[in-house]
């Protein structure tokens, strides 16, 4: 069991308020991702749940029990750090065994669990090595191994993939998702990478300046962002925002349209502009369109075979059914 509940949790460091007040429910078995720009308080929130930072006010409940003043060792949570934080003086086996040793588990059971975790994470051949002799991906797997052997109530991940190269990151992302499918244990995952958030989460928590902007499933956030911040943060490339008369036509202060929801054509459409830069990714092409009179630059996604060039005048038609309307204070209009 691993449900986590935050009630009016707040945190200040000296005079600086990092988290004004957060209420959040994380259900047992959920994969929750905290996402937001750097400095938004997502790591602090995770560390508050872990118990590595003390709350200034509010309550943290783990499985319904008040854990606000419980030391990290007693919360039954496991954490994977960005720097992996392996014990450099211990072999991989001893690293993974450490939490079991601390729990005074008997030796046979320890060995059984270590072998099992090593098999799951492809570490069997490396058990007698030191962390210094492993690659980044292997170290990350050891850190995960150390977290899973204890069968914790929940896993906490603090930007675990940001030290890995791009290819490895995609692989580890899948492995962590598979791990969640298999273990069905609650996972709380902090990242600034919205692709990780979209692909892994059951529930995304978007944070800005210590406040929760929106909580929802990846597709909820994608289809119905609550405000301009969430609309701009979720989705890649970013949603286009248009103000002025064009927005007024839709009875809104600002309208938002995602690059993938605009159709392009060489000779007809609602809007027109001049291609400034075209990025060919093979499968897709992104056009950055200037001089449309709508916004400084409009990003449009088209198929990989569409071949407009710099300086070409093109026509764009937004899909009105997926057009987002926002009020002057940035909130979504129904």
């Amino acid at each position: 069991m691993g449900s986590i509940r935050l009630e009016q949790v707040n945190k200040t460091f000296g005079d600086v308020t990092v988290i004004p007040s957060v209420d959040l429910d994380i259900d047992d078995g959920e994969f929750v991702v905290f996402v937001g720009p750097s400095g938004c308080g997502k790591s602090t929130l995770l560390r508050l749940i872990a118990g590595l930072e003390d709350t200034t006010g509010g309550r943290i409940l783990i499985d319904g029990k008040d854990a606000t003043d419980t030391p990290p060792a007693k919360r039954g949570l496991a954490m994977v750090f960005q720097s992996y934080a392996l014990y450099p003086h211990m072999s991989v086996r001893k690293n993974i065994a450490f939490p079991l040793r601390m729990a005074k588990m008997d030796k046979a059971e320890q060995d059984r669990r270590i072998e099992q975790a090593a098999a799951v994470l492809n570490l069997t051949d490396y058990l007698d090595r030191r962390p210094g002799q492993l690659s980044g991906g292997q170290r990350q797997r050891v850190a995960i191994g150390r977290a899973i052997v204890r069968e914790p109530a929940a896993f906490l991940f603090d930007e675990p993939l940001s030290n890995l190269d791009a290819a490895l990151r995609v692989g580890m992302r899948l492995e962590i998702s598979e791990l969640h499918e298999r273990l069905k244990t609650t996972m709380v995952y902090v990242t600034h990478d919205q692709v990780e958030a979209m692909t892994m989460a059951d529930k995304i928590v978007v944070l800005r300046a210590g406040n929760i902007e929106q909580v929802g499933s990846p597709l909820e956030l994608y289809h119905t962002p609550r405000n301009l911040f969430v609309a701009g943060f979720i989705g890649s490339p970013r949603m286009n925002f248009i103000e002025g008369p064009e927005a007024a036509r839709y009875n809104a202060h600002t309208i938002g349209i995602r690059p993938e929801h605009i159709a392009v054509s060489a000779d007809e459409g609602t809007w027109s502009g001049v291609v400034s830069v075209s990025e060919h990714l093979g499968s897709d092409t992104f056009f950055h369109v200037h001089d449309s009179g709508l916004a400084e630059s409009i990003t449009v996604r088209a198929g990989g075979e569409v071949g407009f060039r710099h300086g070409d005048r093109i026509f764009m038609t937004p899909r009105e059914d997926v057009l987002h309307r926002f009020s002057a204070d940035g909130l979504r209009l129904a």
Partner: protein, 276 residues
Amino acid sequence: MARAVTPKKKAINTAAAWAIGLLIFFPILWTILTSFKTEATAIADPPVFLFFDWTLENYQVVQDRSDYMRFLWNSVIIAGGSTLIGVMIAVPAAWSMAFVPSKRTKDILLWMLSTKMLPAVGVLYPIYLIFISMGLLDTRTGLVFILMMMNLPIIVWMLYTYFKEIPGEILEACRMDGAGLKEEILHILTPMAIPGIASTMLLNFILAWNEAFWTLNLTAAQAAPLTAFIASYSSPEGLFFAKLSAASTMAIAPVLILGWFSQKQLVRGLTFGAVK
């Protein structure tokens, strides 16, 4: 970018380094040489450097006249004991200063160091009286205690610098893994800081071994270490240079050998943190 060093410059630097090295080493060399001379040769004018009749007579006399092994054993106990207890106290102290600093941590560190600036003789009288009333005079326990207290600021400072180098996330990881404070210090911090702790212990062992002020003033016959052994060969009159040199050589030999074999560790310890 490496600096260009001309062969000439390199030769000058090398010569200068050797000159300074020899200058520092010369008194030790002279002591060792003198210990093999007769008393008459030892005070010959002009001094004889190498060409004299080498003799082991002084060592024979020193060996006959006093019980070297007893002094040696006292030195080992006093230096070893004070270092060991000092480290046991300093590890938790340095832990708290490095990982849970308060507003006053820097001040406390500086204040501790400032006690080393006080001339020891300034507190000799009160400490002497305390030692008398507690029955610690001329006991190894008393000396272990006083030398441990004297060196504690240095031990804490050195360990503090080593601990600062250990990433905090590793300690947080072990807390998440269920380690309490005791396990954290015992299983994670101490093993990771072993090189630093070793060089701290080594340096403090040498400092305590060479400490003469307290050992001479607070001992008589029972607890006297090798410093007292050397001092007993100095006398206001008569010829004693050769015997004194022999006693000195015997007293510094163990720690010289220890230092020689651990010089890498010592240098690393003293320059730790300077170069990453």
